[in-house]
Symmetry: C2
Subunit: 355 residues, 2 copies
């Protein structure tokens, strides 16, 4: 058995889930399941076959350390003093691992995605673990596109690696427009970039060193203090200076040793918006999804999430209405991607209590 450390990235803010998701209560703590299991809890549970409880690490913002510990009590938590995007988070976790278990394989998972067919995902992750243990490659999990999604990045595969399940990566593509997304979907060489990665610490740290040498230097400085009484102080002093850049944009798109392990669609969804959130619930005969004290009349395709008061929706189509108790969102379904603009505008207006 190949030793694995699972690293869950739980630094997200989920601004597109305003007003339920807030700086103090981001999306990974919300639930999309009927039994109330949060997204981060589901992510942790899902990978139990891959690694023992003590090999589950969660990287999060220090603001959320307690909440993470509540949701996943057995996790080893790495607390970032500030958010510095995924390269810094993954690099930091890799440094911890290089100190403690340099030959383990890291399985990196976003905390706030949804998965319906867990076996398919586990099969792909196991394949990726094997590839990453044998080769100095950066393995991504690519999902066969189920439809032309414009909210995901895409991966174009190259040649097969040793006849294995993995392919080399020919290119990463940013979120496309709809026309391009349609083209990608017609081409069997394209996959959705799931944001799930598998590699050994040394391999990713080398890639960071090659592409972002200054960020790497900062990580090395922190690494010297890992396990010492100055660990927290070093993190607080050095981590905020790290460049804020995503692992895709900062490293993977430039690295030449990327690989992709394809997976059949496994009901994967980045739960990136209220629209995607609604896909996880059954709607009524008119296509309305209601939670709480809600009454819909002559309305179709609405997502209505009540809190402490009755919400009556009359004669509306494809409308999203979310009451969080201290704030309420009203917007058409086709604008859910722009809910983050509300958060931006609230910040601009100094309404910090609302973001």
């Amino acid at each position: 058995l190949i030793p694995v450390k699972v690293v869950i990235l739980a630094g997200g803010q989920g601004t597109r889930f305003w007003p339920k998701s807030r700086m103090k209560a981001p999306k990974q703590f919300l639930s999309i399941s009927p039994d109330g299991e949060s997204l981060i809890q589901a992510t942790a549970r899902r990978v139990k076959p891959l690694a023992d409880n003590q090999d589950l690490w969660i990287v999060t913002n220090c603001m959320h350390t307690e909440k993470v510990a509540e949701h996943v009590p057995y996790a080893r938590i790495i607390s970032e003093p500030v958010g510095r995007n995924t390269t810094a988070s993954i690099g930091l976790a890799a440094m911890f691992m290089r100190v403690q278990s340099p030959n383990d394989v890291m399985v990196i998972l976003p905390a706030d995605h949804a998965v319906k067919q867990e076996e398919i995902l586990l099969k792909a992750l196991n394949q990726a673990v094997k590839v990453a243990s044998e080769k100095d490659v950066l393995v991504t999990i690519g999902v066969t596109p189920a439809y032309p999604h414009t909210g995901y990045g895409y991966i174009k595969r190259g040649e097969k690696l040793n006849g294995g399940p993995a392919f080399s990566v020919s290119r990463f593509f940013e979120k496309p427009n709809f026309e391009r997304a349609q083209e990608y979907c017609k081409n069997e060489r394209f996959y959705w970039n799931s944001g799930m990665f598998v590699w050994r610490p040394e391999v990713i740290l080398t890639a960071i060193k090659n592409n972002l040498p200054r960020l790497y230097e900062g990580l090395e400085k922190i690494a010297k203090f890992i396990g010492t009484s100055d660990e927290a102080r070093a993190l607080n002093e050095i981590f905020p200076e790290l460049e804020s850049i995503s692992i895709d944009f900062g490293v993977l798109e430039h690295a030449r040793n990327c690989a992709v392990v394809p997976a059949e669609p496994f009901g994967w969804n980045d739960v990136g918006s209220w629209d995607a959130w609604a896909e996880h619930f059954a709607s009524d005969a008119e296509g309305n999804l209601s939670r709480g004290d809600v009454m819909t009349i002559d309305s179709q395709g609405c997502i209505v999430y009540g809190h402490d008061r009755l919400i009556a929706v009359l004669g509306a189509q494809d409308l999203v209405v979310i009451d969080s108790g201290d704030a309420m969102l009203v917007c058409p379904r086709n604008r859910v991607q722009d809910v983050k603009n509300i958060v931006e505008e609230l910040k601009r207006r100094g309404r910090t209590e609302m973001v």
Copy 2:
């Protein structure tokens, strides 16, 4: 000077103003003015030039007697034990007047309408008072239609009466569809039926007697106890038995002695819906009307009424969002007439606390 009694009809429920307007707090107590003056207060203030304070009567449901007294402390209040539509209310007031001041002219006004140019209205009312004092006619105030409103009834005028300002009424028309409303507007003989009436008690009581003899009998039974210690008991026992029918449908449409005094448009509005309510407030550059803690982004023509929480509206057109504290309405502007359906549905579901 002709002695006048002003009778304000304040029995309405305003179900189209749900969730702000409730059985316990109907529309006449809401405000559309920046200084917080309620609709019923504005109605009472507006007619001060017509009659002294002690000659202002308000007919209301006993449930609202206290609230009416708060809003218009000097009014003489007639409390109905139950609502029985306008014929019963007007007939009851006429019986009180026949006992106490039979030769005065009654000026009957709905409590919950809005008027912008009060002088124009006062001029028309004064003309109507003169006509009603001289002739045995039932005078209605007709408003020259400003646009093809489908929410109002219409009056078609007949011949001029004695070269006076009044005309005989050729016919009353129910609320028309839009095509008909357009025809009516093109015809100078058509007026909006404002629901404001002027007549002497004897004239309207005779008309009620001729058209609704049983209702009249009931009123007469009550009248015997007016001014006695049994007045309240008689009201409680007899009034609920009266037929519930509007004065237009039950009496005016059949009476042959109806007259209409035309008035130029005086910014009159029955404030019959949230849409009409919004006309009384200035909107922002994008045509949105906001009250309370509201943020509109990429939205046009919306009416948003906050209560205790921020409401953010994103990418919406012509949407009505009203938060009353314990309930919230979301509907397109073109469906505001149907808000009463929500109240019906709530009653059907036994949600009496919400109606």
